[in-house]
């Protein structure tokens, strides 16, 4: 400490007063901490919606909110099929399931039986509004004034052996208008699913096996782990009870919750095996390399500080942090550790403590230049209008800076012993010797051709895969269950639909009617098999009034004569009914009334209500045969394809990222020119270029497609590659210490991210593989470029 008084004349005056610097670090830690707690108290906002990644102007808030709501409703659905070869058993078991579900807190409602009550309610409904509801077929009849058809039909029904209940109906609805409407709706729109209504159950029979449908709606979000566990435990209990029964009963299920739950468990198991595995490897490596725990502790500080700063500043500037940013930011660890390891490895030979100032002195230019070049590289992401990429830029800049500051401010105050095992040093020396052989130049020149090969591959082969379905972890059982349920229940497409809007409820209904006319054409051309729209059950006011006017002629005509002849209805009753007809003119079926009705309830997921000054509804689609032919109808009726939309977004991001990658390398090259001559700058830049080319070629050979995530991984490869090159350049000689730092850095990165290549999840596997190939290549090239960059004796003769 006495030596500190001599600091004034010291060339590197900033390196003295290490206590002051450490204190400064603590102050910064306080600032970060303070910001973090501030954000914590006002609420940390974690953004998970993919939509938030879209540039601001493109998103139409109404559409965005609308399909978030619709997706939300869909996501809360749980669909079960209880399966058994015994009809009585399947009904009993289904009752059990429905009851257990009903009693659970996380379930909002269960739909199981179509009770007689419900059926009667539907019939009454049809009866109350019979003068305003009219099927297309009957509309034609009324327009052509074929009134006889109506009385004929009544006679037919009366004489049929099945007439039963209709005779009562005839007294109050002599032309059976409500019955006609119900029948036509059922044959046209009640989907011809395999499920039939028997004894109040919705039951299907296929090849001697019975299936009963039970559906439930969650009261909470399906991605909530607690909710998932509740449901999983409920189901496992039920399965146990059923296993002990004599008649075999099976449960089939589908719903967003089950996919999320599976993905979670899969991720959890991978985190424990891969995560724990890599953690052990990393710890072992670091401790073995320095035979001390302190470097490990210090590097953890650097990482923690870096990531926290990144997070806090992103939240500060954007008021929320997107999940994608965090995922990418976590991988920043790979770059951040470079500075720390360089610090630890320097002075591996020297055993003296007093040299600790010199550690920082030695590496300061290297890590500073490394930091600047990486930061400039990432700043290029800020130039895009995409919030996601902007956040990543801010995260990386502040994160790296944080790690850097930890190394510069905090590390010097901690005393480190320098004892690296001799075999490691020996290894490094040997690698360097290899790199110094004359053949390496030719090897390097050969490798310079790789970028060309990579470009050719990128342009000629279809190596990209942006479809987001590749990111889904799917369980075989779930997949099979879903296929079976879709077959039996005849469910609509989950991700493609039409979103229709209107200024008022009635204009919405009119737009829906126009949309269904348009969709009828599509059905005729077999683009889709069918659709479901609220307007099929709830006509607009205009249509209802039109229907009424058509009925008027019929009601006031002499169509009743055959009926009165048979005494099915008296003349007096006719007059009364005609009177009622006149009075009922105003009895329009409103949306509120309809939504309350049993069918309205069932189709309520199609009604999104009022969103941002407009009324919005969904038209769902069945059996999409030609997806490409589906387009928006007009500005009020928009076609939404969630999967394609997100895939397109990812594709856009990927393209932008690829472009920026090349720009970033260019910028870095320019920065390097400030410090080095052209030749050195070129050699340093060549390492990451060769590394990413090798990665692209390698991935292509392995059949792993390029998607957004592994393209982002390439950014990291570049950052790391530049760091290694700069470290070597700054160390003036191809230094064993530097190589040790690089070795440790590379291997810790490989152990932490390369191991992700073992994951079953497509995206993570691709990311890990990219990192693995990239970092490994960088590691092997860096001694070569490191030697070349310092080989001043070589004149440029060729």
């Amino acid at each position: 400490m006495n030596s500190n008084s001599k600091k004034t004349k010291d060339k590197y005056s900033i390196f003295s007063g290490e206590r002051a610097r450490a204190f400064l670090w603590l102050v910064l830690l306080g600032v970060i901490g303070g910001l973090f707690f501030g954000q914590l108290s006002s609420g940390i906002k974690l953004e998970t919606s993919i939509l938030k990644l879209l540039p601001k102007d493109d998103s139409d808030i109404a559409t965005e909110t609308a399909f978030e709501q619709f997706a939300e409703k869909n996501m809360r659905q749980l669909i079960f099929l209880v399966q058994s070869e015994s009809e009585s058993q399947v009904k009993a078991s289904a009752s059990q399931l429905a009851e257990k579900l009903q009693r659970n807190d996380v379930i909002e409602s269960v739909s199981f039986l179509v009770s007689d009550e419900k059926q009667n309610a539907i019939a009454k409904f049809n009866f109350d509004y019979r003068y305003h509801l009219l099927s297309k077929a009957d509309q034609k009849l009324l327009l052509s004034e074929s009134f006889d058809e109506f009385s004929d039909n009544v006679i037919q029904q009366v004489y049929s052996p099945f007439s039963g209940k209709l005779l009562d109906l005839i007294k109050v609805d002599p032309l059976l208008l409500s019955y006609r409407y119900a029948t036509s709706q059922n044959s046209n729109f009640a989907k011809e699913s395999l499920l039939k209504l028997r004894d109040e159950h919705l039951i299907a029979e296929i090849d001697g096996v019975f299936y009963v449908l039970v559906t439930a709606k969650l009261s909470k979000h399906p991605f909530d782990r607690v909710v998932q566990q509740e449901i999983e435990s409920l189901l496992s209990k039920i399965n146990k009870t059923w296993d002990s029964q004599s008649d075999k009963v099976q449960l089939r299920k589908t719903g967003a919750l089950f996919y999320a739950s599976y993905a979670y468990t899969a991720a959890q198991s991978e985190i424990s095996t891969i995560g724990v595995g890599s953690l052990i490897l990393v710890i072992t490596l670091v401790v073995a390399a320095f035979l001390s725990v302190r470097p490990l502790v210090l590097v953890s500080f650097a990482i923690a500080f870096g990531i926290s700063s990144g997070f806090v500043f992103v939240h500060y500037f954007f008021e929320s942090v997107h999940l994608l940013t965090i995922v990418f930011g976590a991988s920043l660890i790979g770059v951040a550790v470079d500075y720390a390891f360089h610090y630890f490895s320097v002075g591996a030979l020297e055993k003296s403590d007093q040299e600790k100032n010199s550690r920082l002195r030695k590496i300061f230019p290297a890590i500073s230049l490394g930091l600047i070049s990486s930061v400039i590289g990432y700043l290029s992401l800020l130039t895009t209008p995409f919030p996601g990429l902007q956040q990543m830029a801010v995260f990386c800049v502040f994160g790296l800076f944080g790690a850097y500051l930890t190394v510069v401010l905090l590390f010097p105050i901690i005393r480190l012993k320098n004892s690296t095992p001799k075999f490691l040093l020996f290894l490094c020396s040997n690698i360097l010797k290899l790199a110094q052989s004359p053949r390496t130049v030719w090897l390097w020149r050969f490798l310079l051709f790789l970028p060309l090969v990579a470009l050719i591959i990128l342009f000629t082969r279809q190596v990209e895969q942006d479809d987001i379905r590749q990111f889904q972890t799917v369980d075989e059982t779930l997949k099979q269950d879903e296929a079976l349920i879709k077959k039996v229940v005849d469910a609509p497409a989950a991700n493609q639909f039409y979103l229709v809007q209107g200024e008022s409820v009635d204009s919405l209904l009119i737009h829906l009617e126009e949309t269904t006319e348009y969709l009828d054409e599509l059905v005729k051309n077999q683009v889709i098999e069918g659709y479901q729209s609220i307007s099929q059950w709830l006509p607009s006011r205009k249509t209802q009034e039109y229907n009424y006017s058509l009925y008027k002629k019929l009601i006031m005509s002499r169509v009743y004569e055959p009926l009165t002849e048979l005494n099915l209805v008296t003349q007096k009753q006719i007059h009364e009914l005609q009177q009622t007809f006149i009075e009922d003119e105003r009895k329009i079926l409103t949306a509120d009334l309809w939504l309350d009705s049993p069918i309205g309830n069932q189709l309520s997921h199609l009604w999104l209500g009022k969103i941002d000054q407009k009324y919005v509804a969904v038209v769902s689609l069945f059996g999409i045969n030609q997806l490409d032919e589906l387009k928006s109808f007009n500005e009020n009726s928009v076609f939404v394809d969630k999967v394609s939309q997100i895939s397109d977004l990812f594709s856009l991001y990927r393209h932008k990222t690829s472009q920026l990658l090349l720009i970033a390398i260019g910028l870095i090259f320019v920065i390097l020119l400030v410090r080095y001559n052209l030749r050195k700058a070129f050699i340093i830049s060549s390492a990451p270029i060769i590394a990413i080319s090798t990665t692209v070629i390698g991935l292509s050979l392995l059949g792993v497609p390029m998607n957004l995530f592994n393209t982002l991984a390439l950014f990291l490869v570049v950052g790391i590659g530049i760091d290694y090159g700069v470290f070597f350049a700054e160390s003036k000689t191809a230094n064993r210490d530097t190589l040790l730092a690089i070795l440790l850095s590379a291997f810790t990165t490989i152990f932490s991210f390369g191991l992700l290549a073992l994951s079953e999840t497509g995206a993570i596997h691709a990311f890990g593989l990219t990192m693995l190939l990239g970092i490994t290549t960088t590691f092997f090239i860096s001694p070569i470029t490191g030697h070349l960059v310092n080989d001043d004796t070589r004149k440029i003769r060729e």
Binding site: D152, V158, S187, E192, F622
Partner: protein, 227 residues
């Protein structure tokens, strides 16, 4: 000698049992199974709320593939095709009017089909059987047959087992002698329908085929392939 004579008498006494096998469940079942494919019918509906019964005439054709054509001719022409899943209805112009697959209709259709086409297995699964025998006047429950009269009439009382049917009908009575002659439905409302059948020994497949072929082409096709 006397012993032989006694045996003969006993034998003779018991022969009627064998000869008058007309009114046992097996032969009735046989009669039900072997009804004519093509018959005329006269239907009389007695409805409480109406002063006069409704009388109609028509024909029945039992088609292949468990389908049955019920065609009304008087007072109005209308055709129904009954099948396992429900009923198709055609108006007087032979245009397909509606297809009803509602569970109750489907079950009723199955019962009718079974009755008229003579599908014993189906009948037995849906209804309980009770056989009554005897000549005119008092019909006694068949415990043992007492005399063999040539017009041995029988009456089969069928009661529905399933909820859907029992809510509509209390019983179905099939009666006849050498063949099935009358089917009578009694509804829970108190109304009853009596159908009197007369077989026609003609092959009518050509006449009614259109209701089967036509059905296949014009039926509502809403099967969806999944996205």
């Amino acid at each position: 000698m006397i012993r032989k004579f006694a045996l003969l008498c006993v034998g003779l006494c018991f022969t009627p049992l064998v000869l008058s096998a007309d009114c046992d469940i097996n032969s009735v079942n046989e009669k039900l199974s072997n009804q004519a494919a093509y018959s005329d019918f006269v239907q009389t509906k007695t409805i409480k709320t109406l002063s006069r019964p409704l009388v109609s005439k028509g024909q029945i054709w039992v088609g292949p593939n468990e389908e049955l054509v019920w065609q009304l001719i008087m007072p109005i022409k209308s055709t129904m095709v009954l099948h396992q899943d429900g009923v198709r209805q055609y108006n007087k112009h032979d245009e397909l009017q509606s297809e009803q697959n509602h569970a109750v209709i489907a079950e009723l259709s199955k019962v009718f089909l079974a009755l008229l086409a003579g599908n014993m297995q189906q009948l037995q699964s849906m209804l309980s059987f009770q056989l009554f025998c005897g000549g005119n006047g008092e019909l006694q429950k068949a415990k043992s047959v007492t005399d063999a009269s040539e017009n041995s009439t029988w009456k089969l009382v069928l009661k529905p087992k399933t909820k859907n049917i029992s809510e509509l009908m209390t019983e179905i009575v099939v009666s006849g002698a050498s063949r099935v002659e009358t089917i009578r439905f009694t509804e829970t409302r108190g109304d009853s329908t009596e159908i009197h059948l007369t077989p026609k020994h003609i092959d009518a497949s050509k006449i009614f085929d259109k209701y089967f072929v036509q059905a296949n082409s014009s039926s509502v096709n809403t099967s969806a392939s999944k996205e």
